[in-house]
Symmetry: D2
Subunit: 233 residues, 4 copies
């Protein structure tokens, strides 16, 4: 059982020519030249020059230029509690495993929260309890209750999987919000792994895919973790 | 316990002058007159005339004119399974009871799916099982596990509540989709009650707040319930 | 001709019970009580208490709670240049006067930019030029060219009107962005008048409907107007 | 001058593995298997099988599965009238040439509507008039009027360019709407060329990138062109 590993994340799709596309978008706004010429020009090949422009544009808050880049992830082994948080990001696109249409056949997979896993006694009880829930779920489906109703007994800990896509503007927003210490641990790890997958291929993004306090230099949370000074309101 | 009543829904907020606002929006597109004059003109008071125009505009698919109207609902006693479906409507706004911040103190409230409730033996077992889950949840929180982690054991059946808002275009879309026989029963009843609340005050909307097959005259579902003929593709 | 007055703006629709609705949304997230009970409770009537909670929630960035409030404006006498900027706000809803369907009958109305109006000689030439454009437009339509094609000669200065709606979250975002000195004068005045209309009825919003530098204490623009210190990046 | 060629369109970016990504999204919803295994499985390589599934899913209205695919276009030589229509599609992302920041140096480029171009006399007058507008624009900027104000005299015919991105769900929606005979000719040609660019690489999409009447078998417009029977309402 994958009950303890948290999210498995793999970047499965991103546009070809990410930097060139953003560069063309940025320059199109301020140039008499056509986007096609910009796309094909020599400067678009000069990575250093391109990055300098992109960094300036993002820093000044002109985020629409990075919406052109969309990235897709295959995500599995996250809890339904975590997916309920993730799908609240309304600029994202999701295709999630359905508990209505996919019937669990044996013990369903689940995630143990770390605070419970670290307590040996509670961990054993937790595993036993998941097993009891599984038994009752199977009893229900064997009695003819449809999966969409039997799932009423499945817990928030139940594992789910999905394909999730978002553009670069939303990814930076997601990272700024969900890498914050105040976010729940499971989604923090999920989003960290999404960011790591992207940074592996696009290292220049590492300065943006950070908690908001790192980007803006202050904390605006009601209860701060203390890493950065709270902004005086 | 409110385990059997399904959603409680109350319309808590809508714009003043719903018809007049839509009428002004429709006429502004096609008129040399200013929206303010249109809003204050005599025709805007003539309900029959106003409705005739609005019906024509909606029928021809010019839906942006009804986005100006937003409606807010207080919703309680729906399951987390149901809320997970509802929050997938990304044009809606939600403020939902948090399982991270609100700790259950005694037996949590829950919803029993009808197929289980109708089976006396399974119903008794279901209630007993909910009680066991509640006991384990309380054991966890009393052992110092934070609510955000203890909730891992709470089932999809757990009751939740929210304030939800959406504009008229999205409400019609929601009704067309979720009043369809293929939608799960609980969300069907929830959306029906939202529509009923609206129709009570705006009766003219009753022709739009129906399953899509009623509006379009055919069924486009992969597996049809048979109420309307399947569209040949 | 209304060529010099800039935007005419009137708030035509907003929800009843704005504060109570936001209060209910905020409390629903953190309360074991149902939204309906919160909505009907005594505290929801205590304006001071309600405002204190709302201010705390907005300050900590929990903006989704104010999406429940949508406001509609009747707007006229803005230029097509200005409307092209405004409709780029994709969370807003618009019903705009159509140049395809509304044929100009005489001299079309237009807006003179202040820099031109302040130069007497250029102002006279500008007015004469608008008159020449009007003549050519009328020649085209009289020759049977449809309005949708004749409008090719109409300038950015041409006046337009619309009904525009947006929720409170988007209104604050719009104000923060478009009240900035770096925004073009015409849209700055338009958004200022929209904010004034709202503040007239909801005075508590005056601290949020300001340029972003006023809210956050620093400037993040590439070229700052100097009002606030530029944030070190 | 490019005044007569209408839009120049080039697809500059799309995800690698379009079909495989959609296939994985579709199957993830209905499978006990993880998206990563689905992505790597043999069936995902079987183009015929993959297309059969995708077609079934799209036909039954399960559009969210195709949101994972985003496509970017470099667009130039469209009129500002056309771009004002296009940017109303709020699910799209745009980076458009700015008339505030890009000053016209000589005769600005423009588009002549076909109905005017086909009338020799009006065509000559139109070209002469564009030249007069250009002269006045240059007079204004030479007198020190900033570009953002001088553009007040530039007509709807003025050429613009942009990078525009949208996902496959929105592209199908755009095609269904804007390939309709009731759409204005220029945007119809623009969208046709966007679709052609996509179909060149993904031929299977040709059945979806059509006017809505072709897809649904009937016309829902207020005034039908007659190609398909009007739906009885």
């Amino acid at each position: 059982m994958n009950s303890h590993k948290y999210a498995q994340v793999k970047l499965i799709s991103k546009p070809e020519n990410m930097l060139k596309t953003i560069y063309t978008a940025c320059r199109t706004c301020y140039s008499a030249d056509s986007p096609l010429n910009i796309y094909d020009c020599e400067s678009a090949q000069d990575k250093e020059k391109v990055l300098k422009l992109i960094n300036r544009v993002i820093s000044s808050g002109h985020y629409s230029t990075i919406e052109h880049i969309q990235i897709s992830f295959a995500i599995s082994n996250i809890s339904r509690a975590c997916s309920h948080q993730l799908v609240r990001h309304r600029h994202m696109s999701f295709s999630q495993k359905s508990q209505r249409y996919v019937k669990e056949k044996g013990q369903f997979e689940y995630l143990i929260p770390e605070t419970i896993e670290n307590n040996e006694e509670l961990k054993i009880k937790f595993d036993e309890f998941m097993s009891k829930i599984s038994d009752f779920y199977l009893e229900l489906t064997q009695a003819g209750i449809p999966a969409e109703d039997a799932r009423a007994v499945l817990p928030n800990a139940t594992s789910t999987s999905m394909v999730a896509s978002l553009n670069l503007r939303e990814l930076i927003h997601l990272a700024n919000l969900r890498l914050c210490t105040r976010a729940q641990k499971e989604i923090r790890i999920l989003v960290k792994r999404m960011c790591d997958e992207v940074i592996k291929e696009e290292e220049w993004l590492k300065d943006y895919l950070v908690p908001k306090c790192e980007r803006f230099g202050y904390c605006d949370e009601d209860k701060s973790c203390g890493r950065k000074a709270v902004r005086v309101k």
